[in-house]
């Protein structure tokens, strides 16, 4: 067996190994030698061997067999062996190992050693990996050492005490008095340790704050000394006298001055002095200024001081040093809510940082810019944001797009501007727009009734240019389906109209349908749009029929279902086709406070609205229901499956999109609304409950129940309204009334009353009870007032 080589020799040999395999071989040989050496009795080379093992450990090889050797070396009387032993303990042992307990006794002995360097080893190791039990054991020793005369030991004991307080918070009281007395020292190391210790004590134990607030004048005095003193070569860093100590003192002042007027007053002058006098051309000065700014913003400082702090941050933004720019933006972000006006003054600089090279700086600038959007600056700021969107790094695009949307929603100066912005985002970054945005965009388009023509023209152009961006394609398909007649008319005041024929439009939609780039949802949009066009065009209805029937055998189940239903609409229910596919009413938001984009507020009401509605569209019944569900299905441009996640998923910035659309069906609250009984015979009761009432329409639900002993089957309702009123009946929840009121059948009707005539409705019921069919007619002359208006 070759004799073990010296440490440096071994390192050289390992480094010269050309392959991983070779290196492993060398190391295995060495480790075997080291193990053998460990087993031998005390020889002179123990510390060398452990050092070699530590090197091997750093390369990533297992070294656990060295743990006991560490323990033995620590107990050795020779300093060189102790030193390496303690180093090994810090590297190989952690508090979870059993061996770490074995060194507690050695540490205890070494803490009272005659040589301060041995004491220092013990203190260092304790502060690095001392477990809770070790800390409890040795806390009194540390407290004693805090009161020695030797500054070298005192400063180390202070930091050791910090570790003890972190591990065993209950021992904090032990150090309260000692910590205070340490502040009278002149030695910077001890002062620094004392400040750190007091900071830790205050953070762990807020009840100690009043006790330590009394030292604020002392801290101010020390700080003044540091700031005003002349050049001290020992502690000077780039013109700042001991920046490490200054920063720690400022941090402690922050904790002490928080929520306390008296303490804040005492430090006001000092903070102003530091803020104005510190030279920030180098990092050290900037670090001190940064800490000062953080402190000013956190305590109860006076207004002038706060403005000074924000101005410092603004100055930082102009710095050449990237780190300083980043740090200032982080701080500005924290205070943008509370000191909004002060930060607004630096908006120009912040927006300029959008063009910075560094990705982190860009991200911060984006978040800040979005936070600074207000009604006054929306136009100019949006220009910058849109510019940024076109050249920003891919990971920021989704965030930018949704930020732009929510800002546009809150502060749009006009509908035309809002639509323009939305279209711009769609065309620039359509692929990064989140899926939840699509319904809210569609809702936005429907509300801007005068701009339908303009919108559909623009979207058609964009669609023809590029069909790869899913969100854009979805919105475009929906608009073409809905407003195709406006497109084909070929005239538009707002923009250059496209001259298209019906074939062109159908070609475009078919391209989307057939393209491999289109997602299943997008193809659903395209198919429905094609179908809707059948009522809006005159000549190519047959082409639509053929497209629809082709997709009747499509592999995608959703498309197939849609195609089959549309086919049925053509064949059997052609008389209903026009009504089913007519122009949709304006989807409006339910409550006025809705568009502030505060998710937490909107979540709760939407949840109650969404859930009952979703179950309504889910319940399976006859084919008539399926067809009528086309209306329900085509109301929500997304499939029913995407409706459901809307209440569950976190509400996007633009407000709850899914909830708005479902509001068509009215707020089906579980609050018992006043309902009027319109029919009560043969055990069948039909109540009318008004869900929603506006000037031009009423949404009501008919609720039927059965008090007889047997089920009533084939229950259907038909309704008729005066000529000028439009009626839409949703699918009933079922056609069986269970006996003894065990269940109900509900059916929602919506009356659209643009001419504001008095509303009347004739309802015809037919059902089968006890083997015989019954039919009855009832007239409803007045609708009860709804609970929600």
């Amino acid at each position: 067996m070759s004799p073990s080589v010296r440490l440096q020799e071994m390192i050289r040999v390992i480094r010269s190994a050309r392959t991983q395999c070779e290196e492993r071989g060398v190391i295995q040989k060495e480790c075997a030698a080291i193990r053998a050496q460990f087993r031998q009795a005390d020889n002179g080379g123990r510390s060398h061997n452990l050092a070699k093992l530590l090197y091997v450990h750093m390369l990533g090889y297992p070294a656990h067999f060295g743990q006991m050797e560490c323990v033995r070396l620590i107990a050795s009387p020779r300093y060189s062996e102790k030193r390496v032993g303690y180093l090994g303990a810090m590297m190989l042992l952690d508090e979870k190992q059993d061996a770490s307990l074995l060194i507690t006794n050695s540490i205890k002995n070494d803490l009272s050693h005659s040589s301060p360097y041995v004491q220092s080893l013990a203190l260092c190791t304790l502060a690095c990996m001392g477990s809770a039990e070790m800390c409890r054991d040795l806390a009194p020793e540390i407290d004693r050492l805090l009161k020695t005369a030797n500054a070298y030991i005192k400063k180390k004991a202070a930091l050791c005490a910090v570790h003890i307080v972190r591990k065993v918070p209950e021992l904090a009281e032990l150090f309260n008095t000692a910590a205070r007395s340490l502040l009278t020292e002149k030695n910077h190391g001890v002062l620094h340790g004392a400040v750190v210790l007091i900071t830790e004590l205050c953070e762990r134990n807020p009840s100690a704050l009043p006790h330590f607030r009394k030292i604020v004048p002392d801290l101010v005095h020390i700080m003044k000394g540091l700031v005003m003193s002349g050049y001290s070569p020992e502690h000077n860093v780039a013109g700042i006298s001991d920046p490490f100590l200054q920063v720690r003192i400022l941090r402690l002042l922050r904790i002490l001055g928080r929520n306390d007027d008296e303490a804040s007053d005492a430090m006001n002058d000092l903070l102003a002095q530091v803020a104005t006098n510190t030279d920030s051309s180098k990092t050290a000065g900037s670090a001190v200024l940064y800490e000062t700014v953080l402190t000013i913003m956190d305590i109860n400082s006076e207004c002038g001081l706060r403005i000074l702090a924000v101005n410092i941050l603004g100055r930082f933004l102009l710095s050449n040093d990237r780190n300083i720019r980043y740090v200032s933006m982080m701080s500005l972000q924290k205070i943008v809510q509370t000191d909004h006006n002060a930060v607004q003054r630096h908006r120009g600089t912040i927006v300029d940082c959008l063009k910075d090279q560094d990705a982190s700086v860009k991200r911060r600038a984006l978040e800040l810019s979005l936070a600074l959007v207000s009604a006054a600056n929306i136009r100019s700021l949006m220009k910058e944001l849109l510019l940024f969107l076109s050249c920003c790094p891919p990971e920021l695009r989704a965030q930018t797009a949704s930020g732009i949307f929510s800002a546009a929603e809150r502060f749009a100066p006009s509908q035309r501007w809002h639509i323009d912005t939305a279209l711009h985002v769609l065309t620039t970054a359509g692929g990064d727009v989140r899926d939840e945005m699509v319904p809210s965009l569609i809702q936005l388009i429907t509300t801007a009734t005068e701009l339908h023509c303009y919108t559909v023209h623009k979207l058609y152009r964009a669609l023809v240019a590029d069909i790869s961006q899913q969100s854009l394609v979805q919105v475009a398909c929906w608009c073409i389906g809905e407003y195709g007649d406006l497109l084909l008319r070929g005239e538009c005041e707002e923009t250059e109209p496209v001259q298209v024929t019906e074939d062109d439009v159908l070609d475009a939609l078919e391209t989307v349908l057939q393209s491999h780039m289109s997602s299943p949802a997008t193809r659903g949009f395209a198919l429905t749009a094609t179908m809707k066009l059948s009522t809006r065009i005159s000549r190519n209805v047959d082409r639509i029929r053929s497209i629809v029937s082709i997709y009747g055998s499509c592999i995608d189940v959703e498309l197939q279902q849609r195609a089959v239903e549309y086919n049925a609409l053509f064949k059997k229910y052609d008389h209903m086709r026009a009504a089913v596919l007519e122009r949709m009413p304006v989807i409006d938001r339910s409550s006025p406070g809705h568009d502030n984009g505060e998710p937490a507020v909107i979540q709760a009401p939407d949840k109650t609205k969404n859930n009952p509605v979703v179950t309504l569209t889910q319940e399976p019944t006859n084919q008539a229901r399926d067809l009528l569900d086309l209306l329900g299905g085509s109301d929500e441009p997304a499939q029913p499956s995407t409706v459901q996640p809307a209440p569950a998923a976190p509400v996007p910035d633009s407000g709850s999109a899914g909830g708005d659309l479902l509001d068509l069906l009215g707020g089906l609250d579980s609050i018992p609304d006043p309902s009027v009984t319109v029919y009560e015979q043969n055990g069948v009761t039909v109540k009318l409950r008004c869900d929603r009432q506006t000037d031009v329409g009423v949404t009501a639900t008919l609720v039927a129940s059965n008090t007889t002993d047997s089920d009533i089957t084939q229950f259907t309702l038909q309704a008729a309204v005066p000529k000028c009123v439009q009626l839409q009946m949703r699918a009933p929840s079922g056609d069986v009334l269970p006996a003894r009121g065990a269940g109900q059948v509900t059916q929602t009707v919506h009356l659209n009353n643009p001419n504001k005539v008095s509303l009347r409705m004739r309802v015809r019921l037919s059902y089968c009870s006890g083997g015989s069919t019954c039919q009855d007619t009832v007239q409803v002359d007045s609708f009860p007032a709804s609970a929600s208006h």
Binding site: M58, Y79, C124, G189, S360
Partner: protein, 154 residues
């Protein structure tokens, strides 16, 4: 407080690791891997601050070595840059124009110097001179220096 301090080369080889919080071996390896990947993947002129989990990461490149430390959320990043710089200055003073090879072949000295400068994740001595003096005195105490350490070039 500083949670850890790592030194690694441009090829990702670890030269020094100091942990100020208790972590098992597996977790330590994961942190080292993550830090190396993140820091080495940064473009040349980016800012020296990163976010990783709930920590701030500050790194600085000196010649062929990356000095990387993880901080708590409340710590001052600019000051951490100064801390790293101070450590490099101490190494430089001790080894005389320190380079990566010095730290490789005398890694235990690098640890000893670090232990005189930082403790428990905090700065323990703010004066360069005092730290240097303590190291010198400790070295004097140590017998048989010549065997495996090259003489410090003061």
């Amino acid at each position: 407080m500083m949670r850890f301090l790592l030194l690694f080369s441009r090829q990702g080889k670890l030269r020094l690791q100091k942990w100020f919080t208790p972590l098992v071996e597996r977790e330590r390896k994961k942190v080292v891997r993550d830090m190396t990947l993140m820091v080495l993947g940064r473009p040349p002129r980016s800012c020296n601050f990163l976010h990783w989990k709930d920590l701030k990461v500050v790194y600085k490149r000196y010649a062929s070595l990356y000095f990387c430390c993880g901080l708590d959320d409340k710590d001052n990043e600019l000051l951490a840059l100064e801390v790293l710089h101070r450590y490099v200055e101490l190494l430089d003073k001790y080894f005389g124009n320190v380079c990566e090879l010095d730290i490789i072949f005398n890694f235990e000295k690098a640890y000893f110097i670090l232990d005189e400068f930082l403790m428990g994740g905090e700065v323990q001595e703010t004066s360069k001179v005092t730290v240097a003096k303590s190291i010198e005195a400790s070295d004097m105490l140590q017998e048989t220096m010549e065997e495996y350490m090259s003489k410090p070039a003061f």
